[in-house]
Subunit: 390 residues, 2 copies
């Protein structure tokens, strides 16, 4: 068969426990922590008792109950919206894909941080997007650099970017949280330069300490921000329920591109009932405590076994970003680590174009504390071996 | 907001009870019959008891149990495949969309019958497809006309079609079942001219009488057929579980384009358990009896109230195709019918290009026998009114 549209590499678009190295300790992707997967038996039985809603075709935008529950959920963050602004999707990835279907033609530019979420890059690439990459510091995306790049594009008469994609809370992969000032500046730049901000925010509620910063969406008065959310990182990825919150005309357009018959009303019914009960809040609280412990164990183990790596300790989320000495090749380290029974991700896939070779992304979400300790010890051995035979 | 990629009409991609005229009797789309929506409480509880599979990220291709169950399900039709050939999707529409993502670039040609499934046209159009439309007779797609068109394209040096989309069993909208000879001819033509056949087969098991014809896929020795299936028409649309069966490299490519994190393993677990039990077969038997009654009631009511319409009585499926006298405009009839409390679909949306104005598509799946009688009486009044004030 030689008639494929893309001769792409066999990169996968979805992280899955099944797609990883069998037997290895998985520190490579943001899977849910198995001991804390929720008990949804009650809500699933409730959905089964409402077949006329849960088993019939559902509304393309999503069921009203869930859209209302999501409005309440984000109201706590200062985001004001009505169900008309909310589209239910198969997770945040599906929402990103729909935004690309609406906005992106091949060759259109999307602004991203370097590095950024690797799967988001794959999804955007599948739509033929080109990237404008902007650096980050401890306050998040460097808005001065962004403005300079926008002006340069304008001065050169080049195509203006249509979208900006960012993860402002506990950024994937760097863990950085964008400051309030930068968030406000992003909204100003979007208005001035006519691009839409896609604010991907799966980790926001998984905060260990420090003060939450209001979402970018909360500063949006003109419908220039589409906020992407999901229950994958706060409840269960297997339900495949996420959402987009934006200008009502924008989300209605995104809904029209849903070629999958709308998001499963059965799954939506389960999530709506979980959000309406206290179970979600309790689950997030338990999960955050566990993730904090995982992070602490990983940071401590890294200090002991990988002293050559610079580590940024995030205030929440699922990931750690490691910077190895500049002469180290992270992909070789990762493949040596696999020989020691631990799977980690090279940071290379997180860069839209020229990628430095010396970064690793580690996830502490899936493995328990004991496996994290063993895994990092294995990574330490891999680094030592690398040094012994460079 | 004026930066949308498409200035498309507000056509919906998914049929949904919520998107229809409130209060009207719905004879317009293939929704499930509410009294026969299945009781999935047992299977949903079973999925909830297996959180490590059902609530975690699932494999991109789908869970092994369901892929095996589908191999067994289609083996009964003479289709030989292994789980490697099976990709689980969010219904057959999602599978069609993924096939377009793999094969179609803007301007590429897809062969379809005229008329064909309206939502399929929308999905293919969203990928920028152009259409080669071929007529049907009582044996299905006219393969002689297809061959002549293929030769003409070749002679003119025009781009050869990449895909053929058809619904060979109880065709949507015409109800025609393609003969065995035509199915075999289609496979020959696909081999000779290098296109892939997408065999969309949601209604196959909903047969009222007559002999089943083996699927197009069963005649495929070279991986030129991708069979699309779904539980939407034999179980419950709200679960959003469908599949594509094809060459293993083709379905693996389709999987790579799944931008939604894979199909929900929770829903897959429910469907796998239903397929493994006797419940699915029992449900199909009950459903087929009900659909047969609905069809009979509708055909009888049409003879009484709409004698001017020519009706083809299908041997199965969900739809009736009406041909009104050539001087009648079906869209005006449909809007008059709505005033009489019944929603029907103009056949216009089922044609890829030049559409005759005098067809209606009626679905007998959702409304019960009494509503079907009342609905067709309303349609009869609409036709009479049309004649009274043309």
């Amino acid at each position: 068969m030689t008639i494929y549209r893309y001769a792409r590499q066999a990169e996968i678009l979805g992280a899955s426990i099944y797609d990883h190295s069998p037997g290895a300790i998985l520190l490579s992707s943001g899977l849910a922590y198995p001991p804390l997967l929720p008990d949804v038996a009650h809500e699933a039985a409730g959905a089964a008792r409402r077949p006329h809603q849960a088993l019939q075709y559902g509304p393309l935008m999503g069921i009203a109950d869930l859209r209302e529950a999501i409005c309440q959920f984000v109201a706590a963050d200062g985001v004001a919206c009505t169900p008309d602004n909310v589209l239910i999707t198969y997770g945040a990835k599906d929402a990103l894909d729909l935004a690309c279907r609406v906005f992106i033609e091949p060759g259109d530019r999307i602004i991203v941080t370097r590095p950024t979420y690797m799967t988001a890059l794959q999804i955007m690439r599948a739509h033929g997007a080109a990237f404008v990459s902007v650096g980050q510091d401890e306050d998040g995306l460097d808005t001065d650099e962004l403005e300079a790049q926008l002006k340069r594009l304008e001065a050169n008469g080049e195509r203006a970017p249509k979208l900006l994609f960012d993860v402002p809370d506990f950024h994937n992969p760097t863990g950085i949280t964008t400051s309030k000032a930068r968030r406000m500046r992003l909204v100003e730049l979007a208005r001035a330069h006519g691009f839409i901000i896609l604010e991907d925010d799966p980790y926001r509620r998984v905060r260990f300490h420090g003060e939450a910063v209001a979402p970018v969406k909360s500063f949006d008065r003109d419908g220039v921000v589409v906020a992407l959310g999901t229950v994958s990182k706060i409840l269960a990825p297997g339900l495949r329920v996420g959402w987009a919150i934006g200008d009502r005309e924008v989300v209605a357009r995104m809904a029209m591109h849903k070629a999958n018959g709308g998001t499963s009303p059965f799954a939506q019914r389960i999530v709506a009932d979980l959000m309406r009960s206290d179970k979600l809040a309790e689950h997030i609280s338990q999960l955050s405590a566990a993730m904090r412990l995982h992070r602490d164990v990983m940071v401590e183990a890294l200090a002991a076994h990988c002293p050559q790596a610079a580590v940024r300790t995030p205030q929440g989320g699922y990931f750690l970003w490691l910077t190895l000495p500049e002469d180290m090749d992270a992909e070789r380290v990762a493949s040596l680590a696999l020989e020691h029974g631990v799977e980690v991700s090279s940071g290379r896939l997180c860069f839209p174009n020229q990628a430095p070779a010396n970064h690793l992304r580690l996830a502490y979400s899936f493995a328990g504390p004991e496996d994290i300790r063993r895994g990092i010890a294995g990574l330490g051995k891999a680094c030592d071996e690398y040094r012994a035979r460079p």
